[in-house]
């Protein structure tokens, strides 16, 4: 699979941050489907234990939306996100992205999918400790032909003055913002966030959520965010609830909340 050809990729000449166009400013569910799961199951083995993480999951991801996947620990949401991001392969079922069947991708195609289409933000930030903030962002932008400028992205997340600091010299919130910058710098279509506020205090967590909202609103990135923290569901355009590897409910939020108004 090559780099997806899409009128919404953005201006490759400027690599600027606000050239993505979208049919709806709110990134609403009225946009087309960019990814879908059809009857996806996943089993994996850890040591001597076999876990059935997903059981016949079916849903769609719409262009430009914030999709929140809510569920307690062990509900399968992280597994779902990993499979959506091409980090893992399902045991059965089909996943598509822009009409390409991801489940049929070979290793090389999966790598390209992760490289060009997906940006990840992890709960534990997962910055490389041997690299500075800017270098962590460069690590991602080095891979694509039309990345965003590292310093510009760091400026957008409020860390331009900490560009030369190593992760050990940054607070948790700052590390998470660097991780967001890294995820965004590749200009991916899909930003996947795994409990982005899980390791942060309330204020910092709120700042991170606001940043994600801005990215969705201004840069038209589709965001899939998983969390066990129920109040966070309010910021999503849609909320998928999961339990024991299954989707139990899908809700639409007509008016997604501003993260600054969410309390937890």
């Amino acid at each position: 699979m090559g780099r997806p050809v899409n009128g919404n990729i953005g201006n490759p000449n400027t690599g600027s941050l606000n050239t993505r166009s979208s049919s709806t400013r709110n990134g609403g569910a009225q946009n087309g489907i960019i990814s879908s799961f059809r009857d996806v199951t996943k089993e994996y083995t850890t040591g001597e234990v076999v876990v059935q993480a997903l059981r016949g999951v079916t849903f769609d991801v719409y262009q430009g939306e914030i999709l929140v996947i809510l569920g307690p620990s062990g509900s399968g949401k992280s597994t779902l996100l990993n499979i959506l991001g091409g980090l893992d392969i399902p045991t059965s079922g089909a996943i598509t992205f822009r009409n390409a069947e991801v489940t049929r991708f070979n290793e090389s195609e999966l790598t390209r999918y992760r490289r060009y289409s997906v940006g990840f933000i992890f709960q534990s930030y997962n910055l490389l400790p041997d690299l500075t903030a800017k270098e962590n962002v460069d690590l991602a932008r080095d891979l694509v032909d039309d990345p965003l400028d590292s310093l510009e992205v760091l400026r957008r997340v409020g860390l331009a003055d900490r560009a030369d600091h190593f992760p050990s010299q940054l607070s948790g919130g700052e590390q998470q913002r660097v991780a967001i910058a890294r995820g965004v710098a590749k200009n991916p279509e899909l930003l996947l966030c795994d409990e982005p506020t899980g390791a942060l205090d309330f204020e910092t967590g709120r700042q991170v959520l606001k940043l994600l909202k801005d990215i969705n609103t201004e840069f038209r990135r589709t965001i899939v965010l998983i969390t066990h923290n129920a109040p966070l569901a309010a910021m999503g355009n849609r909320v998928l609830r999961m339990r024991s590897g299954k989707i139990t409910d899908i809700q639409h939020n007509a008016t997604p909340a501003d993260p600054e108004r969410i309390d937890w």
Binding site: R115, F120, F122, L128
Partner: protein, 795 residues
């Protein structure tokens, strides 16, 4: 377009963080490559220099010794098909004296000289002489060029005088300069001497005319030198030459491949070539093992980072290349350093060579070939080791790798099956044993490297032990006389009474020593046969079980090396012909084999040897015991019939001086062995500390001291090192045996002698490298902050 600048920066910082391990790796590669470069460049220089020397000075292909022939016979030889050039000359051995002078203490006054006549007119077409300083001797001036080692040993300069004794008469010669020749690259008076002793042997190049005058050979020669044509049928040409010279009393013919100097230097050059491949290969293997262990560890430790990089979009191959890069960086840097060190050492090594070999040598250059081969070998080894260690990243599923690794499975240590031992172990030993059982591959690699390191130490000392034993046994263990006297002619009882009558002589045993050709079917060899008293107390012969034996009344005892060469066993009949004589071959029964460490040859009763020579009751040498060797020597010097005087004590003293080179090599190899052992133990220690830092920190938090907490790591090292030492000692014995087997057939038989102290030294060396590595690791343990480590998440 993909840029790997960021990953490169990560790699550099990774190297910085693990600089101790990286430095160990680099050191081992550097040593291996330095040895390769040194030996290969030296081999190249020696080989090319020798080749050039032989070519420029027209080293002959064949030398034929005759009794006496007219000089005109050379024209006949030149006319034989296949002969490109021929020269005739004179060569004699004579007793020499070097008078006392400011540069010479006059102590060495009984010296053997080899007088070589050099044609007076035109260019010498075979075996020319290279004048190093001064000038060629002029005809009729009684001058001589002298070999460089001899001039140095006796402090001679141009213009100094020498005395040679010809038929008992003294003749004065003046030194006209210093020279050498391809024939005398390794100048010993006979093949049984282990090393050149310029204090007692020298080569003089005289005008052919003057040599002829001295010896009464005007218009005659006693040697013919030949160069074959490029398309000559050498066997047929040689036969034709020998046939043409038979009537002049042909004594011997010697092809270049059998010429002593050529054989010695060729073997030496060949052994350098062998070392240039075997030793570096061992070091590169060890380096590869260290790389493998380090990179494997890195990949395991950074599985989360690998998952992140895959999540970001790096391919497995890119990540594999990144981790392999650690190994490649070490290999390339080690190679660069090794090339530099090896190149620096070449001139010094050439200098050492020049002390023993008369070859015009350059300082030696490291060529592009050596550099390319070094880089290629070390980078290839690095890529292979790094790839093997890191290839698991290809299989790592990104999601799985970002999950914490499953806790290590329960593994029982082998010792747990022996409860009477296991129950007596402390907890730290139990932890160490279980961890070893969990990482069997790594443990096996560590033991293997430690084993090689210790074996290297054994081999290093074995070389010294063998040479030490060879000399002590030969000169002190088996030769029980103070002086050995050689005569210029066969002597009779009257001469024996004269020797007995010298004041100071306590005991005397006469012997006769002749050069013979021994033949068994088509196999033959030129050896010496010594006729000695059956009840000799001054020369001990031992059989193959090291039991003293006496020479038989009839028949002979044969040295095992000679016997092997010609395929003879006790009970066989050998055919012996005197080289300097006209008698035909005679059969002599081989009654037994003896072990002669130096020289080889045959031993029989004086009567048997006299019979072979067609003599009766004669001798040409004697061993003397005396309480005053100097006084006896003074008297012997005056005798016209004495050609040389030697003493085992002097030879042993010379050996002590000569062992400087052996000690240097032993020291160097010892250093290599310790460096190798240190590198592997340090790498394992560093890795173990990193893997167990939470456990160690926990134990420190519990209240144990750093040393006690570190015991879980150090006990592993102790167990692995003990296994390495235990296996390395016998491996060292095996490697020494292999070395000895490779040397079999050389001039000298290296005994497999390894003194007990050598094993103790090697074991101590093992203890040293383990202790040093653990000391370096202990520092790291002291630095561990329990609070920080216990709060840090895994991965």
């Amino acid at each position: 377009m993909l840029s790997r600048g960021t990953l490169t920066r990560k790699l550099i910082r990774q190297i910085g963080r693990t600089r101790g391990q990286f430095a160990s790796l680099v050191a081992v590669v550097a040593i291996g490559i330095a040895v390769y470069v040194l030996m290969t460049a030296s081999y190249g220089e020696l080989h090319d220099s020798l080749d050039r020397y032989y070519r420029e000075y027209r080293f002959g292909d064949l030398l034929v010794q005759v009794r006496r022939a007219p000089a005109s016979v050379v024209d006949v030889i030149r006319g034989i098909d296949g002969v490109a050039a021929a020269e005739g000359r004179l060569m004699f051995d004579a007793r020499m004296e070097v008078p006392k002078s400011p540069g010479n203490d006059g102590k060495h006054t009984s010296i053997k000289g080899r007088i070589v006549g050099v044609p007076d007119v035109g260019t010498v077409s075979v075996n020319d002489v290279k004048v190093l300083s001064g000038r060629r001797p002029l005809k009729g001036t009684a001058e001589a060029l002298v070999d460089p080692q001899f001039t140095t040993a006796h402090g001679l300069v141009a213009g100094d005088s020498l005395t040679v004794y010809v038929s008992g008469k003294a003749a004065g010669l003046k030194v006209s300069g210093i020279a050498t020749s391809p024939e005398f690259t390794y100048a010993t008076s006979n093949p049984s001497e282990l090393y050149p002793d310029p204090s007692s042997f020298g080569v003089l190049f005289m005008s052919q005319y003057d040599a002829a005058s001295l010896y009464g050979y005007q218009g005659e020669i006693n040697q013919v030198l030949v160069k074959y044509g490029s398309s000559a049928d050498t066997s047929a040409t040689r036969v034709a030459i020998e046939r043409a010279l038979d009537k002049y009393g042909r004594i011997a013919s010697l092809e270049r491949k059998d010429q002593f100097s050529h054989v010695v230097i060729s073997q030496k050059i060949e052994s350098i070539r062998t070392i240039s491949t075997t030793l570096p290969a061992i070091f590169l293997l060890v380096a590869a093992a260290i790389m493998y262990i380090s990179v494997s560890r890195m990949v395991r430790e950074q599985r989360l980072q690998i998952g992140i990089m895959k999540a970001i979009g790096y391919s497995g191959q890119q990540i594999l290349a990144h981790y392999t890069g650690f190994a490649v960086a070490g290999g390339a840097l080690g190679a660069a350093i090794g090339i530099g060190l090896g190149g620096l050492a070449v001139p010094a090594y050439m200098g050492v060579f020049a002390q023993y070999f008369n070859i015009p040598l350059g300082s030696g250059r490291v060529g592009l070939q050596e550099i390319s081969a070094s880089l290629a070998a070390s980078v290839a080894a690095s890529i292979i080791a790094g790839w093997l260690a890191a290839r698991r990243v290809l299989a790592l599923n990104p999601a799985q790798s970002m999950r914490p690794a499953a806790p290590p499975g329960a593994v029982k240590a082998e010792l747990e099956w022996l409860p009477f031992i296991w129950n007596r172990l402390t907890f730290s030993w139990k932890m160490a044993m279980r961890n070893l059982a969990r990482h069997k591959g790594r443990a096996a690699l560590t033991v293997m490297v430690a084993m090689f390191a210790v074996a290297l130490l054994v081999m290093a000392m074995f070389m010294r032990d063998a040479v030490d034993y060879l000399f002590r046994e030969t000169f002190a263990g088996r030769q029980h006389y103070h002086l050995a006297v050689n005569m210029s002619r066969p002597c009779n009882r009257r001469d024996l009474f004269f020797l007995k009558g010298i004041p100071g002589v306590d005991g005397i045993e006469a012997f006769c020593d002749y050069a013979v050709r021994i033949r068994n079917g088509t196999k033959q060899d030129d050896i010496s046969i010594k006729g000695m008293p059956r009840d000799s107390r001054m020369w001990t012969l031992v059989d193959l079980e090291d039991r003293p034996v006496s020479v038989p009344e009839t028949g002979m005892l044969l040295d095992e090396t000679t016997a092997r060469k010609v395929g003879l066993q006790p009970g066989d009949m050998a055919w012996l012909k005197m080289i300097n004589g006209t008698r035909n071959e005679q059969p002599v029964l081989v009654r037994g084999l003896v072990r002669q460490l130096v020289g080889g040859g045959a031993f029989a009763s004086a009567e048997q040897v006299n019979q072979l020579a067609g003599e009766s009751n004669t001798f040409n040498g004697a061993w003397l015991t005396t309480g005053d060797p100097d006084r006896v020597r003074d008297v012997l010097r005056e005798s016209p019939v004495v050609i040389s005087i030697s003493s085992p004590a002097e030879r042993l003293a010379e050996f002590e001086k000569m062992t400087g080179m052996v000690v240097f090599m032993v020291g160097l190899i010892t250093l290599f062995g310790v460096a190798m052992g240190y590198s592997i133990i340090y790498t394992i220690t560093s890795i173990s500390i990193e893997e167990r830092k939470r456990e160690i920190s926990f134990m420190k938090a519990l209240g144990l001291t750093s040393w006690q907490a570190a015991s879980i790591v150090f006990n592993e090292n102790t167990a692995l090192s003990a296994a390495g030492i235990a296996l390395g000692l016998p491996l060292g014995n095996v490697m020494s045996r292999a070395f000895m087997a490779a040397k079999a057939g050389d001039m000298w038989t290296f005994p497999l002698v390894i003194y007990p102290r050598t094993y103790m030294f090697a074991a101590f060396g093992g203890y040293v490298f383990v202790t040093l590595a653990q000391w370096a690791g202990r520092r790291r343990i002291r630095q561990l902050d329990p609070i920080a480590e216990l709060k840090t998440q895994q991965g």
